[in-house]
């Protein structure tokens, strides 16, 4: 799940996890930016580097969550592949862990995506532990480099353990098992970033599943009314008498306020329609989630999950 910052990646990722869990499935929701966004949307205590159940879905599904921390993933990786008990601690003490997770090109992304890869392939009693994994990924500006782990490390490692790990992760990300979901509001910058990301994913060889339009506003006004509102041609006389009928005696100032608001609203709707068309031009399936004026709570997430269930844009 990616999109411009603040457009609802975490919210939509959480709703998608609930939607996929519905009907008795087990879904893992991961985050990678150390922001505790998942804990915050589900209103639970901050997550450790450990899989925790955060919600139950309709008809008995479960959503588990994991806040992936690169340093912890690195130590875990050393432990599993090199059996480094105490030496791991020593590396940490000498700043190697810090180095590997902050600057070594790509190492950090290999560790983070590698953990997702591990969870996706983990099996118990010959069945996958998770039916689906939803990753709340970095925002559009950074997601290309984040997911393109192979080219990320290509500059530094032509052969060797890191390169091998990167190659397996990349194969998995490019397989039909993986989809990139894009989230956008109907504003110019978020839409532009999503369109750029759409092309970028194509270039990297990753499949885009669909686009979620978040903060969608529906207008109660008809097309003609919107056009009239923009051109200052609303039937003010009729509106004025309707106001009187409704017992509102604001006079001319009230009428002027409503007219002005109608114009601004119509302009906004026109801009949003234009941005929506730009997204539609990709030919990608689109699903819309409404703006909720009181803010998102757990109830909203379940409602959003319902809207996302069985829809083509998130298949």
């Amino acid at each position: 799940m990616t999109g411009k910052g603040g457009t609802g990646k975490t919210t939509v990722a959480a709703a998608l996890a609930l939607a996929l869990a519905a009907g008795g499935k087990r879904v893992l929701l991961c985050e990678v930016e150390g922001r505790q966004g998942i804990a915050s949307v589900f209103d639970v205590a901050p997550l450790p580097y450990d899989e925790r159940r955060v919600a139950v879905a309709p008809d008995g599904g479960q959503v588990w969550a994991l806040a992936i921390d690169a340093e912890a993933a690195f130590l875990e990786y050393l432990q599993i592949f090199y059996h480094l008990g105490r030496a791991g601690k020593l590396l940490d003490k000498f700043g190697v862990v810090d180095f590997a997770t902050t600057i070594a090109p790509g190492a950090r992304d290999v560790l983070l995506t590698g953990k997702v890869y591990e969870a996706a392939r983990r099996r118990k009693h010959e069945r996958p532990v998770y039916d689906a994994i939803v990753l709340d990924a970095p925002p559009t500006g950074r997601v290309g480099r984040f997911l393109n782990v192979n080219s990320d490390v290509a500059g530094i490692a032509k052969v060797g353990p890191i390169r091998n790990q990167a190659t397996s992760i990349m194969d998995f990300l490019r397989s039909p098992q993986t989809r990139v979901q894009l989230v956008s509001s109907l504003e110019e910058m978020p839409v532009q970033e999503v369109l750029d990301s759409y092309d970028e994913m194509h270039d990297i060889g990753l499949a885009v599943g669909g686009i979620v339009v978040n903060f969608a506003r529906e207008s109660e006004l008809t097309k003609t009314e919107l056009a009239n509102a923009r051109n200052g041609r609303l039937d003010l006389q009729r509106i004025g008498s309707a106001l009187k009928e409704a017992g509102i005696n604001g006079g001319d100032s009230a009428l002027a306020a409503l007219e002005d608001e109608a114009r601004q609203h119509a302009e906004r709707v026109a801009i949003e329609a234009k941005q929506r068309r730009r997204l539609q031009d990709t030919g990608c399936p689109i699903v819309e989630l409404p703006e909720v004026s009181e803010g998102v709570d757990l109830g909203t997430l379940y409602d959003f999950a319902d809207r996302l269930r069985d829809c083509e844009a998130i298949s």
Partner: protein
């Protein structure tokens, strides 16, 4: 961009900026908006002792828009301005003529220069700025070596904080052209600085510290040890570390790291010194910080952190610009009256819809006022200017002028 280890950074920098979910006080419920002193933008722009205006705030609140609008207004009021933008929206960049990415300021056409002022603008290219720094401070041979090293590529394009750090570097380059100081060519007398679109408003202040603490790190010293001569005694711990490193990374990669670190060694000192110097300039009275926020709880929480931090560091805060504020004028119809009226109108669908729109706007305005009151309660001294939410995006000079007018209205 903030790509690095967020938690590690928090730990190192020792601040306690909360995640979004943390219920952080932005202020008491008892604050009053009537106590807030207005921020006089024109007085700020006309104050010729102010040479640097820094616009900061969390991502997406309108920092770039505000910086550009301040730049246009200051220029048209007679100042010779350069605005350093970072990641502007594409159409804004186009209308400012910022499309060529050559990392140097270019004149903005269409600005009214009849008062003797002028506006140049540039968009930060972080990689290029880093390259310039290396070129300026390393011998040609060393510079070549550094550019070719894969680790330099990573550091210059993706290290957490590089963008913030390079904004600081660029600022110190631009400063050398300021008028009023000895040895300066006087091309500009005001620099307006936009800050990178990081999550946290504090990243900008913490970036130099983060970079230098990385460059000072223990690992760097270990890796430098062989380059600094055989006299250096290796402890057992260090040889275990290098042993493990070459096992995990492979010998080639370890050598790359080592060459990079030793080639870079000579530059480290200069980095720290300049970062420190820029930091001092930001504390001087010739600088003014403008904190930008939208009137919602997340952005105002970041703004509160920033305001407190500036105060703690003794940095000069001009005030807060609240962007995208919802107009709360009732036109004589309260939200309640509008909703009740809409209920009564079954066959006048259009009027009912307009009344509901009206009510929704007033409710939104009331929610915004509530968070603003809380902010004001905790930070009563912070001068504030507001910009209403425009129905359309802001991407030409005319819209920037309008923003400027609205700022002083």
């Amino acid at each position: 961009m903030a790509r690095g280890d967020e938690q590690g950074r928090r730990r190192r920098s020792g601040d306690q900026a909360p995640g979004r979910g943390v219920r952080f006080r932005i202020g008491p419920f008892t604050g009053r908006l009537s106590d807030v002193t207005p921020l006089d933008i024109d007085a700020l722009l006309d104050d010729h002792s102010v040479h640097i205006v820094v616009c900061c705030g969390s991502g997406g609140v309108g920092k770039t828009t505000t910086s550009a609008a301040l730049g246009v207004r200051a220029a048209e009021r007679g100042r010779r301005v350069v605005v350093l933008t970072i990641d502007p929206a594409r159409r804004l960049a186009q209308s400012l003529g910022l499309e060529q990415l050559d990392n140097t300021p270019r004149p903005v056409r269409g600005v009214d220069t009849s008062t003797g002022g002028g506006l140049d603008a540039m968009m930060l290219d972080m990689k290029r700025t880093f390259d310039e720094v290396v070129e300026a401070h390393a011998s040609p041979d060393k510079a070549e070596q550094i550019f070719a090293n894969p680790f330099y590529q990573a550091l210059s394009s993706s290290f957490a904080g590089t963008q913030e750090y390079m904004a600081m570097e660029k600022l110190s380059q631009l400063r050398t052209h300021l008028s009023g100081e000895p040895g300066r060519d006087g091309r500009w007398d005001l620099i307006v600085v936009d800050t990178p679109p990081s999550r946290s408003a504090l990243d900008f202040l913490d970036a130099p510290e983060r970079l230098s603490s990385f460059l000072d790190g223990r690992l760097i010293r270990i890796l430098l040890a062989p380059a600094r001569g055989p006299a250096r005694v290796f402890t057992a711990g260090i040889s275990v570390v290098t042993g493990v490193l070459s096992k995990i990374l492979g010998g080639q990669m370890l050598r790359d790291v080592q060459t990079f670190v030793s080639a870079f060694d000579a530059l480290f000192g200069g980095f720290r010194a300049r970062a420190e110097q820029t930091y001092q300039v930001l504390k001087a009275p010739q600088t003014a910080f403008v904190v930008v926020a939208s009137p919602d709880i997340d952005a105002l929480r970041e703004a509160a952190f920033f305001v407190e931090r500036l105060e703690a560091e003794g940095m000069p805060l001009a005030g807060l610009v609240l962007n995208r504020v919802t107009d709360g004028a009732t036109g004589g119809i309260s939200a309640q009256a509008a909703l009740a009226g809409a209920e009564r109108l079954d066959d006048e669908r259009l009027t009912a819809a307009l009344l509901r729109l009206h009510a929704r706007r007033l409710e939104r305005a009331a929610r915004e006022r509530a968070v603003r009151r809380r902010f004001a309660g905790a930070h009563p001294g912070v001068r504030t200017a507001t910009i209403p939410a425009l129905p359309t995006d802001v991407h030409d000079l005319e819209a920037l002028r309008e923003i400027g007018d609205l700022l002083i209205a």
